[in-house]
């Protein structure tokens, strides 16, 4: 039995449907990220799980029991908010202790637990400080300790790192994952940062327009995006609209350039497809002089240094590609050089596109 289940959750605000029936389940101890752009419904879904909002229809089920009507203070779910949410009138210790006081735990037990948790988040030295005496990262760590203090059934994280600077963000997300694995707590993490989601999650659910586009492991999401939106949203992707021209050999035509794609084998002739190629799988080589240059041909427009790889933008008359090549090779492909891009047979994703609408007839007399 799944630990947490969202069953056909819908939430409308007047005419606007923020969630259009999402269903997803989590196993005990699983770390699931809800990933998507602003307004996709991810925070709405989390608030429904936390109990701060009621679904228009659908159920939130924990351990087989529908808790949709249970008020938030009786759900025993720990939450870390996007905004700094520590109580400004209490020290870090008192903040962590707050939930334990409500549960009427003895003073000794409370103090022991508070110290353990502050140690867990690396803040045992800052227990006596007030929130205004803590940095943003420290405040979110205390908020995490406070959420964990009540031994929640589910840990809910609503973009807890978005207000922090890049370095602290990376450090803290790793700490969150370490603590989550250590405690084995079921976690739902909301973020719009795909790198964050892919780096810490067991599974990722991409939301768009109030619907789940795809759920899968970070590797699946990256390598096998199920929809054009996921392909666009996760990582960088080259999108080549093409038509199947030889289903036996798996050949497709992209604006006059013929590409061989293994995934196109068996597709009917004339079918419109979207060829998705990651920048790191594209192979670039200097284009031969004269008529020898066929296929995806263009000029190197820019170099962007990214550390071990350099990102090249290749622009041709009918082409706009991004390719990542090892930085050590970049000197052989200088800016302005005419290059030929080869799409490897494997490692390419193919999505079917709806048939092209017939061109509108030209007005008579023209």
């Amino acid at each position: 039995m799944p630990h947490v289940e969202l069953r056909e959750l819908r939430r409308s605000f007047g005419d606007f449907e923020a969630l259009k029936g999402i269903s997803i389940s989590l196993e005990q101890g699983e770390f699931l990220s809800l990933l998507g752009p602003s307004g996709c419904g991810k925070t709405t879904a989390l608030r429904l799980v936390a109990g701060f909002d009621r679904p228009t229809s659908g159920e939130v089920v924990v351990d087989g029991k529908d808790i949709s009507g249970v008020p938030p203070n009786r759900r025993n779910m720990g939450m870390v908010f996007q905004a700094y949410s520590l109580f400004p009138n209490m020290t870090a210790e008192r903040n962590v202790e707050y939930g334990l006081r409500i549960r009427k735990q003895g003073r000794g037990d409370r103090q022991k637990k508070v110290q353990e948790l502050l140690e867990l988040v690396g803040l045992s030295h800052a227990g006596k400080r007030y929130p205004h005496q803590l940095s943003g990262g420290m405040q979110q760590r205390v908020a995490l300790a406070r959420a964990l203090a009540i031994e929640p059934r589910v840990l809910l994280l609503d973009e807890p790192l978005s207000a922090l600077d890049a370095k602290v963000r990376v450090q803290l997300r790793e700490e969150i994952r370490r603590i989550q694995l250590e405690l084995g707590i079921t976690t739902i993490y909301v973020t719009h940062d795909q790198e964050e989601a892919l780096s810490v999650s067991d599974r990722v659910a991409v939301l768009y327009g109030g619907r789940i586009e795809q759920v899968g492991t970070p590797s699946e999401m990256y390598r096998q995006p199920a929809t054009p939106f996921v392909a666009e949203f996760i990582g960088t992707m080259n999108r080549l609209e093409a038509t199947v021209v030889d289903s036996e050999r798996g050949e497709v035509d992209h604006k006059g350039a013929r590409l061989t794609v293994a995934a196109a084998k068996g597709l009917p002739y004339g079918e419109r497809v979207l060829v998705l190629v990651r920048p790191e799988t594209l192979e670039l080589s200097p284009a031969p002089e004269g008529d020898g240059a066929v296929g995806l041909v263009g000029d190197v427009l820019t170099h962007t240094f990214l550390g071990p790889v350099t990102r090249l933008k290749v622009l041709g008359p009918e082409l706009d590609l991004i390719a990542d090549i090892p930085t050590s090779r970049v000197e052989s492909l200088p800016i302005g050089l005419r290059v030929m891009a080869r799409v490897p047979d494997e490692g390419v994703r193919l999505l079917s596109l709806p048939p092209a609408e017939p061109a509108a007839p030209e007005p008579a007399g023209q």
Binding site: A50, F52, P71, P72, N73, R74, N76, M77, G78, M79, F81, Q82, A83, Y84, S85, L86, F87, P88, N89, M90, T91, Y98, G99, I102, R103, Y130, P131, H132, G136, A143, R146, A147, I150, A163
Partner: protein, 280 residues
């Protein structure tokens, strides 16, 4: 080039600052004269001998301090102000909290209602209230603790509301409330242990203003035939010139001392009211 670009604004700023600071001092001085001159004049008048009219004697203060009515009325006004503060905070803290949390669209409506006591003169207000409460029981209508406090709560409404409103706007009410509920607290506990301590400064401001209003309110008290401290001052003013000046100054000092006491009681070391960052 960049050095020049940085230097120029600095010189410009310095040129502006000097005349600005002089004019600031002049305005400060004018303000001080405006407020302090009447107090100094009143004090000088109050220390004249009540028989000879010659400086300097504290006999006017002695007359007041030995008058039982002074102590009775000042005690009554002070207790009325405490009752008004208590009722106002009990009534308006949860109201403003709920408006901020659940009914933000009602904020302009409540703000408008809060302005009504400003535009209705106290003399109109008291006539209306006397008529409205005419059939109410004696324990309310004939007692300052009932009728007068009810009128003072209305009178203090704008001051209390706008103080609390600014306090609630300075904190992230939604996030603090949700964080508290999420940890298992109910609404009363959330209000008392999380929200109230973080709007303490606003609540103290509201209390100050209410105290000042009640300690100085004359129209409603006199028209509803209650003898409070302001009506006592009026009586002394009509009958004894030098003690009237003395009692005015004393009332001024007592009100300030009471405000200071509330400030000291409301202050707590360590904690600080802070703006909570973040968006919703």
């Amino acid at each position: 080039m960049s050095a020049v670009a940085v230097e120029q604004p600095r010189r410009f700023r310095l040129r502006l600052r000097r005349p600005g600071s002089i004019s600031a001092w002049i305005w400060l001085l004018l303000g001080a004269v405006y407020f302090l001159l009447p107090l100094i004049a009143t004090f000088l008048f109050s220390i004249k001998n009540k028989n000879t009219g010659v400086c300097c004697s504290l006999s006017a203060y002695g007359v007041i301090l030995h008058d039982g009515q002074f102590w009775t009325t000042i005690k009554l006004s002070f207790l009325l102000s405490l009752e008004t503060i208590g009722i106002s905070l009990l009534l308006f803290v949860p109201t403003v909290y709920w408006v901020h949390l659940k009914l933000p669209k009602l904020r302009p409506v409540v703000g408008f209602l809060a302005l009504i006591p400003f535009v209705v003169p106290p003399i109109i207000l008291v006539v209306g209230l006397l008529d409205f409460y005419r059939d109410s029981p004696d324990w309310f209508y004939a007692q300052p603790w009932g009728f007068l406090v009810a009128a003072y709560v209305i009178l203090a409404f704008p001051y209390v509301y706008f103080s609390l409103d600014s306090g609630f706007r300075a904190i992230d009410v939604h996030t603090l409330t949700e964080a508290s509920l999420n940890l298992g607290a109910g609404w009363p506990r959330t209000l008392l242990t999380v929200i109230l301590p973080n709007i303490r400064v606003a609540a103290i401001s509201a209390a100050f203003l209410t105290l000042a209003i009640v300690m100085g309110e004359f129209t409603i008290a006199t028209l509803s035939a209650f003898h409070t401290f302001p009506t006592y001052i009026q009586y002394i003013n009509e009958t004894q010139a030098y003690p009237a000046a003395a009692v005015s100054l004393m009332s001024f000092g007592i009100t300030w001392a009471a405000m200071l006491a509330i400030l000291l009681v409301g202050r707590r070391p360590g904690a600080r009211q802070v703006q909570i960052a973040g968006t919703r």
